[in-house]
């Protein structure tokens, strides 16, 4: 369970007493990140420039570049922070009820946790999709450890379903997990462009999960 190890490692680093200089650097980074988050949400990934971000954070462009290699580095950092938090929400959702209500309900809770997480920051989700589809930054984002955690969480539920005899042995777990994850992602455009609320997203996801598990569900 690589993701758990990663999160623990991050905590340990944070627990070390930082020097004053490191602390100041951390504060600068936090300021830049907050300004960037706001501007990406207001103007999209393409619309927000480093210059705008620097000025919103009340510092020079040079100071921003001293902390981040470029705009995509800055955006990736925001995404990764969010994905880690989202992963925790999803894991909590998965644990809820200890999976006693079955794979489909558990997956639905995981998906819903995701939609709820982004409900108040859809513009940022939209920026993330824009970056995720770009040939340059897409592979890095999709392959990043926190995104792998989200996929891993889905795979885990399928594996548990097989272990408990709820799903048949031949569940093609890897392919099915990919498809479930893509189905989860595929509903974001409805939220972003067509203002679907949480209930609509949830009921759509419920049907999608049902369809994607129909072939392996034991009855």
């Amino acid at each position: 369970m690589m993701h758990v190890a990663t999160i623990q490692a991050a905590d340990q680093n944070g627990a070390k007493a930082p020097t004053r200089r490191a602390l100041a650097k951390q504060q600068t980074r936090a300021k830049v990140l907050a300004a960037a988050r706001r501007l990406f949400s207001e103007q999209g990934y393409e619309g927000a420039t480093i210059r705008d971000i620097a000025s919103a954070a009340g510092m020079s462009t040079g100071a921003v570049f001293a902390n981040f290699a470029d705009k995509s580095d800055l955006f990736r950092e925001i995404m990764i922070t969010d994905m880690v938090a989202l992963g925790e929400d999803m894991r909590a959702a998965a644990r809820h009820g200890d999976g006693a209500d079955g794979v489909e309900e558990t997956l639905l809770r995981i998906f819903t946790a995701g939609y709820a997480f982004y409900q108040t920051q859809l513009p940022l989700a939209r920026a993330a999709f824009s970056v995720g589809w770009s040939p340059e930054d897409g592979p890095a984002l999709r392959g990043s450890p926190p995104v792998q955690v989200l996929r891993g969480l889905i795979t885990e539920q399928l594996a548990r379903g097989v272990d408990r005899g709820e799903l048949s042995q031949d569940a093609q777990t890897a392919l099915r997990a990919d498809m479930l994850f893509d189905a989860y992602l595929s509903n974001y455009p409805q939220a972003i462009f067509e203002n679907w609320n949480l209930d609509s997203l949830q009921s759509r996801a419920r049907n999608q999960i049902g369809i994607l598990l129909a072939g392996v569900r034991k009855r």
Partner: protein
């Protein structure tokens, strides 16, 4: 590439530029219009090549103009934005694909799943050489520095219609469950399909590989809509 049929202008600005009085009511095109049409086609062709090789974000209007051997100013009198050029490039390409669908669709045989497999195989074979272009188009959908002009990607209505028809036919013939909401299946298939493009662009997969993955995914989705 042949000249496109009259294209609906995407926004007000372009509309006023494009709708010269003589364009209406079948009057013979003036020399100026013919010139304009030629510029338009050159720009589209140049843009298609550049988007395909260096991506959408990486291509500037200036480069497109240079590549098309026209002035930057004349690009802007023809198109309101870079995105409008991109959507026109995609519309032209899709016209070709849809002609291919029209040719193939009447000959589809077998189960609904097999028909769907053929539809997507046709698609991949047609588009595989332009994966970057396709990705650029999807990415641009989410870019909101753009004016809200064109059809967002993933809502390629025509492809969705072809799939929906296929599912409805399956219902009528009894191999698709009557309880299924076709749009849900359409969305799942579209999700699988665009995802495969991304895989293909990142790992340079060929049409055969893309089709093989899609075939498996269609099989899995078909488990969910089959009559049992």
């Amino acid at each position: 590439m042949t000249s496109p049929p009259e294209l609906p202008p995407a926004d007000g600005e372009a509309a006023s530029a494009a709708t010269a009085p003589s364009a209406i009511a079948g009057a013979p095109p003036s020399a100026r219009q013919t010139q304009k049409e030629a510029t338009r086609n050159r720009v589209i062709e140049a843009a298609r090549e550049l988007f395909d090789t260096q991506g959408y974000q990486g291509t500037t209007i200036r480069e497109i103009a240079r590549h098309a051997k026209v002035s930057v100013g004349s690009v802007f009198t023809t198109f309101a934005s870079k995105y409008e050029i991109l959507s026109q490039v995609m519309v032209n390409r899709l016209d070709g694909l849809h002609a291919e669908f029209d040719r193939v669709t009447p000959h589809l045989r077998g189960s609904t799943a097999d028909r769907l497999r053929t539809i997507f195989a046709v698609h991949f074979a047609f588009e595989v050489r332009h994966k970057r272009l396709f990705l650029a188009y999807i990415a641009a959908t989410y870019d909101w520095t753009l004016p809200p002009t064109s059809t967002p990607m993933g809502r390629n209505r025509r492809l969705q219609d072809v799939i929906r028809d296929c599912l409805e036919k399956g219902k009528a013939e009894g191999d698709v469950s009557p309880d299924i909401e076709p749009q849900e299946i359409v969305d799942l298939l579209m999700a699988a399909y665009v995802w495969i493009y991304r895989l293909a662009a990142w790992h340079d997969a060929d049409a055969k590989t893309m089709t093989a993955i899609m075939d498996r995914q269609i099989g899995l989705i078909a488990d969910g809509f089959r009559v049992r």
